[in-house]
């Protein structure tokens, strides 16, 4: 609600215009001498008009972005229940380690002999990843989760091609999958064959078996799946896909639920990406890069991408090119990006792992699952879940409890903004009507989760009491009221245009 102050500010809440609406044209933060006059070498392609930079001084720029940043919601401010994203606390120890000059200031083109410590760290992190997944090989380059998927599927394609098996064009993917799974398969040239779920929210094993054939390249499955449920027939799925010569790609986005408890290698997985920026803190890459290393089974290990770090006689080497017969990287599918991954993320992830230890990582998964189940059970009287618990690290609600109230999932989410919470993931998974995918993570104390549950239950009761207008008007306390998403999508305004110039008086 607009405050009745003269300035439009509300004490510490400062109303902020666009950068272009601040200052005035031509104002600048630096005083530079005019550039020397030189003949243009642009061959007539010179810019004709002004490029229209905002005319602001340094303090105006600093204040602009500081003010905007105060409207930002973050895990450092409050619970962030965004399902599928694992928004957990980022321990400050990670940041301290990542900023050590030996890690923070290294350059990827430095000679090997000068970055032995960095290479050793990558090697050690790879060892941890192989150990917790129970898989023999790891590729560190992928830049994030979807890039990891691409890496895994490229290895699967390379493995089939190495056998001269070029007719495998079909990849099986459950209907509840993350959208990146079918996108990755399509990007690799495969066609996507969707697999329905069963009445328990798990993949339909009979449907998998019915879709098998000599043209199946593999399956992409998330475990726990996007409904927050453990795929208890995962071993049977692996056996089925292997029986026709296909490979099993696992999407590791939900690894936080099982880290230290169950190993993908034991489930028959051939490739799995690990979102270091989810499971091992730095959620959403801390706004910076993500990191999605991929662990491989023995069957796919030879096809892993370059570069890779190996240890020989206590020294660490970066293998950059395909080796000769029986040498490292001999059958690698090649290089998928320039350098060997995100060094800063590697340091943070290893710092997280080593400070937690094996027992700590196991407790992470246990507490994350406990928190989600606590939310699901506590809200059961007022909200509805499409599948009965227990769940894994995510509590999934549908919109049956809102039926007949006139309140939608979106309205409910907007009301949560007024309560100071980032809404959960809504309308995903697509297979659940009005889905609300809620992931508290192990970060939250019981008191914090209790406060959150109290808000959810109170809002649910309010919706059922018939006060739809309250929800339709939400959010009321945010700097901007509800965004008109429809008009924004139909008629997007993608750039600021200066107001029409006023008639200039002679200066």
């Amino acid at each position: 609600m607009k405050p009745d102050t003269v300035s439009g500010n509300r004490a510490l809440d400062l109303e902020e215009p666009l950068l272009f609406e601040l200052g005035r044209p031509g104002r600048t933060g630096v005083d530079l001498p005019d550039a020397p006059k030189v003949a243009s070498r642009l061959g007539g392609l010179d810019r004709e008009g002004s490029i229209g930079l905002a005319g602001v001084s340094e303090p105006e720029v600093v204040r602009h972005f500081v003010r905007l940043s105060r409207n930002n919601y973050s895990i450092d401010a409050n619970l962030y229940p965004l399902g599928s994203c694992t928004m957990k606390h980022n321990p400050r120890l990670n940041e301290k380690m990542a900023r050590l000059p030996g890690f923070g200031d290294v350059h990827p083109l430095q000679p090997e002999s000068t970055v032995q410590g960095a290479l050793e760290l990558i090697h050690a992190l790879g060892h941890w990843l192989k150990t917790i997944t129970g898989m023999p090989a790891v590729a560190m380059p992928p830049a994030a989760g979807a890039h990891g998927e691409l890496c895994g599927m490229m290895a699967i394609r390379a493995a089939h091609e190495a056998k001269g098996d070029t007719n495998r064009h079909r990849v099986l993917i459950p209907e509840s999958a993350h959208g990146t799974n079918p996108a990755t398969a399509a990007q690799c040239g495969f066609t996507v064959d969707p697999i329905p779920g069963n009445e328990r929210g798990r993949i339909d094993l009979a449907a998998v078996k019915a879709k098998l054939g000599p043209d199946v390249a593999g399956i992409m499955l998330t475990n726990p799946n996007t409904l927050g449920l453990f795929e208890n027939e995962v071993i049977e799925v692996a056996q089925a896909i292997h029986s026709v010569g296909g490979y099993f790609y696992a999407d590791g986005a939900n690894f936080n639920a099982i880290v230290g408890k169950a190993r993908p290698g034991d489930m028959g997985v051939d490739a799995i990406h690990i979102n270091l920026h989810k499971t091992f803190s730095t959620p959403h890459g801390g706004g910076g890069p993500g990191s999605g290393p991929v662990c491989f089974s023995a069957a796919l290990a030879p096809y892993a991408p370059l570069p890779m770090v190996i240890e020989q006689k206590g020294r660490f080497h970066l293998i950059e090119h395909r080796g000769g017969k029986n040498e490292p990287g001999e059958k690698s599918f090649g290089r998928m990006r320039t350098f060997n991954g995100q060094m800063g993320m590697f340091v943070r992830a290893l710092s997280y792992m080593m400070s937690h230890g094996a027992d700590g990582l196991r407790q992470v998964a246990e507490d994350a699952v406990l928190s989600a189940n606590y939310i699901m059970a506590s809200c059961a009287a007022d909200m509805t879940s499409p599948y009965p618990g227990p769940c894994m690290h995510e509590a999934l609600f549908d919109d049956r409890f809102l039926e007949g109230t006139g309140v939608t999932t979106l309205d409910f989410a907007k009301a949560m903004i007024d309560e100071g919470y980032h809404p959960m993931t809504v309308y995903f998974p697509l297979v659940v009507h009005g889905a609300m995918l809620t992931e508290p993570t192990e970060t939250e104390s019981k008191e914090s989760v209790d406060r959150f549950i109290h808000v959810l239950r109170t809002l649910a009761k309010k919706a059922k009491s018939g006060d739809a207008a309250f929800f339709k008007n939400a959010p009321r306390y945010s700097p901007r009221r509800r965004v008109d998403e429809t008009t924004a999508a139909r008629n997007p305004v993608l750039r600021w245009t200066p107001p029409a110039p006023k008639a200039q008086a002679a200066e």
């Binding site: 049956r400 309308y427 697509l430 009507h433 998403e485 429809t486 999508a489 139909r490």
Partner: protein, 125 residues
């Protein structure tokens, strides 16, 4: 007027001679919410029954629209491309997607009639 037939994927088709008019059902547009973008097949494109024919994007999600029958696209609806809101306003009238020269009319008669589709929708949540 020719009879309308419906698919489980919530498309409708109305056959006039050899030409079928295809759109998404009113139920489908209600489920999608405000539609903001529609991608239609170009005239001359050959479609296979059950294959992807069009894409419809709403504020909630992007969804594929499948060909209810096999055949060749004769024309698509330029009004829908210009004004996607038309699908919300008149999904089963002016908001049609494309016209298709039906390869096998039997494929049309095999689809659900209005009463069967109505019952089918009631079983969905």
């Amino acid at each position: 007027m020719a009879e309308r037939r419906y698919t489980k994927d919530h498309e409708w088709i109305e056959l006039n001679g050899a030409i079928g008019t295809v759109g998404i059902t009113n139920h489908a547009q209600e489920q999608l919410g405000d539609i903001v973008f529609v991608e239609l097949p170009a005239g001359g494109k050959k479609l296979t029954k059950g294959g992807e024919a069009a894409v419809v994007e709403s504020v909630k999600a992007a969804s594929e629209v499948f060909a209810p029958v096999s055949g060749e696209v004769v024309e698509s609806n330029p009004e829908v491309s210009k004004n996607p809101a038309l699908v919300n306003q008149a999904a089963e009238a002016g908001g049609w997607f494309f016209k298709i020269k039906v390869a096998n009319p039997k494929e049309v008669s095999e689809l659900m009639d209005a009463a069967t589709y109505k019952k089918f929708v009631e079983t969905q949540h």
